[in-house]
Symmetry: C2
Subunit: 564 residues, 2 copies
């Protein structure tokens, strides 16, 4: 049993932020109560919760609803399209499980029982009338991170000052998902400023990890991560500018894709620094299955979103042909293996996951493993941590000041990484930094090209990089400091997928007796690892391809994982 | 006969700028003298030059060299690849004609006789040894705008302060052209700050139009325009951020493509504001033929430049299939016809060119003409003219101040268009402006989508827009003020091609007696038009497609121009 509270302290002060938060949480709680009357009291009656709450649905949910919510997206859409499942039943099941998730891990900003059940009924009616689904996502419940605009709903991005703001229109991506048949039923939590690899803000408090509530769910799409990890959703919409899709996917053992920038629609994303193009955020899918990820991107790109949102690349999903040459009827895939990034050595469970996969892949015909030497990842962090806040954090602090809310410790942490000491850069300084970013990208490309040449095959350079998704499994709250395992690929704009491998096993994953820290960060990271503290935490890894090779990284993972 | 001087005044003051300019021009003149000894004196001996100097090569060049230099790029590469022409002879012919161009229109920063003839000999040797060309551009002379880096050569972008600067490496695009067999032999002039639709700087003075020396060659790739217009080159490398490829192509009756941003390599471009991504410049081809344009882009993209320069789109040239549906074995192409942009009405010759093409296209089976209503082009100019100088012009004025050079009138003109009165914007203000840019782009996309719907065919929206390339043919020097006919497509990042239609005919192109000005700019533009002043000026038009549809705009022009 754990001492971590079920929910964060109810805000009690009388400042505008706490007032806003009380109202905000009261609305959320009302939507939970409406969804599942009496649930809150029931969960309270259980007393202290176990660290791992993933088995609790069995205690209170019907067998049928458990079965439904544990199906993958591709199974659900297939059964819905065959009429084997009704959309209303599926929506009901996910609403219930999401309500329970909120009680156990605090991942919801609001549930949408009325809208979801009405939509589901409409889809069932359509199916009955036409004998076919309305689109490729017919009846599929999809959860959405709060800062993606939904018309007339909150659009606060976790800011107290924005708690009363309502969206004027839907996000572009939600329109497409809707037209494909999706059912929106749950909106999820995010950290202050959307810039933590944890999820804590002054409106909704801390979201915790369902596999181990002493650990963070990750962030910034942490509400999605916790909800999907708990199987209160099977497919969700996240966003990522430094790891915000991949960190929560890794922390909950999910599949998550950070696509190349400007492939999936962004319009409708709420954030304080919209228009800042120094480093581009992306939207992407988080799912219980790889097929769910594919279903998402293929549905979105089939709608040609660039015709409405012309900042996007006019680039369809190109999986009509394989991205790998064939050799003896099997694809030939060269995998660069990056054990660590040269700065921080991942914890033992990550090392074990890497070893496991490498041992398996070594035996696969057509798969070649080559060592991947990280290229100046410390410098990458220097660059991107400045690009995040070319205004020195002025906009952030101003937004916090509007309601008097505290700038939270993990938000301060990322601001502290910016080497300009909070100074607002001039345009000319921003251009200098941008040139440094571009130079780094060219150097990395050169490094990739050179790596290929050294191994003697110019025609088939390294296809994908297999590497950790972070310096460890989900860390204890307040400890997710080292972003570079994910953020380096944001700086380079490489597509990256996170996928589950195993879970922390305190017996197997003892600290190495011969560990030697390479530097301060490495030392710090090693010290936070205590096997028992991390028990049950999912262990995930990351697969990365070159820019715009999103289809390639998905195809590679699809092929390779049959051997995992 | 005209009073326009053959060359600008030799700078005579003793400031650092004039000293730099004298040295700079002396070097240029030496390369001309080396290329064609005695040419300068010969041309001087002719006395006052005619306004139209395009027939002068016949007076002094051999018939064979005239024939060679008036071939299109596709003919040249075909004959070179067959061994019917020698690379050395072709290089020699273009060097000579470029030398003459310099004497007549002042379009060269330096000729490269040694390098070019040596390279050509190397290619001839290769051909003799292997019996085949080295690549798709084997032996083709290509001229290059000066600010594209050539290792160890000047890299001044027209700035006195940079006159001594030498490039450390080649531009990426030049490496690719070189590998394909190109011969670099001439480097061309550009205006101060690269931000005029004319060509005037304090190092090399004014470049004039070979068809009418009282008119501007356009800019900023004006040296290329004048040189290719004079047939001192058949294919050149230009750059465009507001019309800088299309203005000189239009002014000299050439084919020029402004590709979508980030399709062709930029690395090696010299400019004072590198790293400014508020509005992206592009590199593109300028040629005497449409095939020349295609040859250029296909050669570049076949080299997969995104693997070296990862800011580029990983998007090959996609012309393996038609971009138009077929109807009765003919492509079905819907052309939006924009007679004017709702702000400034083009001069009579442009109107006549539009009328001519519309009359011809109306008769073509499968071609549908629909009216194109310009969407807030005045607002587009408000936005882009601010995006050009988010630093209020500080960097520009500082660079001018370094050598004490004058900020020239046409440079002051573009700065004056920025509504922020020279103020340096904060990051937050830049983001606001960027959001306005994005909003405009989405509105224009919506406008495009709506236009299609109104004409009753959702499946085939308007394919391309036919419109003027400017408010008139090449204007007199100092009068190229109205950029919006080209710059709106930069703001939208739409690919746009300029192509020749006719030439100004003072008899046919009299001012309309019933002209009514819509506003001050329109009035001003109408007043500068005097038919006799514009005599012989080429008249060109523009074809535009949606973002990333570069292949489509090229295919459309290729098909349509058989009916012109």
């Amino acid at each position: 049993m754990t001492q971590t509270k079920i929910q964060p302290e109810t805000p009690t002060c009388n400042g505008p932020c706490c007032k806003a938060a009380r109202k905000y949480c009261a609305h959320r709680d009302a939507t939970v109560e409406q969804t599942w009357p009496g649930l809150h009291e029931t969960v309270l009656s259980w007393g202290p919760l176990p660290r791992n709450v993933t088995s609790l649905p069995k205690r209170i949910m019907s067998e049928r609803e458990i079965v439904i919510t544990e199906k993958t997206p591709e199974t659900l859409v297939a059964e819905l399209a065959q009429g084997e499942l009704k959309s209303v039943d599926v929506a009901r099941a996910f609403l219930n499980r999401a309500a329970l998730a909120q009680e156990l891990v605090n991942c919801i900003t609001e549930l949408l029982p009325d809208e979801a059940l009405q939509r589901a009924q409409q889809l069932d009616d359509y199916f009955q009338a036409h004998g076919k689904p309305i689109g490729p996502l017919h009846g599929l419940p999809i959860s959405v991170k709060e800062h993606m605009a939904m018309k007339d709903k909150t659009h606060d991005a976790g800011w107290c000052a924005w708690a009363e703001r309502r969206a004027e229109e839907n996000s572009h991506i939600l329109d497409i998902l809707w037209n494909a048949g999706a059912v929106f039923y749950a909106r999820t939590t995010q950290p202050q400023a959307l810039m933590q690899l944890e999820t804590d803000n002054n409106l909704t408090g801390v979201t915790v990890n369902p596999f181990n509530r002493d650990l963070t769910c990750g962030g910034s799409s942490g509400g999605e991560g916790a909800l999907i990890g708990f199987r209160g959703s099977c497919l969700g919409v996240g966003t990522d500018i430094g790891g915000s899709i991949r960190s929560p996917c890794a922390n909950q053992g999910l599949y998550g894709l950070r696509p190349s920038a400007l492939r999936l629609p962004l319009h409708g994303k709420g954030a304080i620094m919209l228009g800042n193009e120094s480093i581009l955020g992306v939207i992407g899918p988080m799912s219980t299955s790889l097929e769910g990820v594919k279903l998402f991107v293929k549905t979105i790109l089939a709608a040609k979103p660039w015709l409405r949102e012309p900042s996007l690349l006019a680039m369809p999903w190109r999986d009509d042909v394989s991205h790998f040459p064939s050799q003896n009827d099997r694809p030939r895939i060269r995998v660069g293996v990056m054990w660590n990034d040269g700065v921080v050595q991942p914890h033992p469970p990550i090392r074990r996951a890497m070893e496991t996969l490498v041992q398996k892949l070594e035996k696969v015909d057509g798969v070649e493993l080559v060592p991947w030497k990280p290229y100046k990842h410390a410098e990458a962090w220097q660059i991107i941590s400045q690009l995040y806040y070319v205004d020195g954090g002025a906009t952030l602090r101003q937004t916090a000041a509007e309601s008097g809310e505290l700038v939270l410790p993990m938000t301060e942490w990322i601001l502290s990484q910016n080497k300009n000491n909070g100074r607002v850069l001039t345009p000319s300084e921003i251009w200098t930094l941008t040139r440094r970013r571009e130079a780094y990208r060219m150097e990395y490309a050169d490094h990739w090209n050179q790596t290929a040449t050294e191994t003697g095959d110019e025609a088939n350079p390294v296809d994908v990089i297999l590497c950790p998704a972070g310096p460890g499994a989900a860390p204890p709250h307040g400890h997710a400091r080292y972003w570079t395992y994910t953020a380096v690929w944001n700086l380079l704009d490489y597509p990256a997928m996170v996928f589950p491998v195993t879970a922390v096993d305190p017996e197997l994953d003892q600290p190495a007796v011969d560990f030697m820290a390479m530097n301060y960060e490495d030392e710090w990271n090693s010290r936070i690892y205590k096997p028992e503290l991390y028990a049950d935490a999912p262990v995930s890894l990351q697969l990365v391809a070159r820019r715009h090779q999103d289809e390639k990284v998905v195809e590679a993972l699809e092929y390779l994982q049959q051997y995992f």
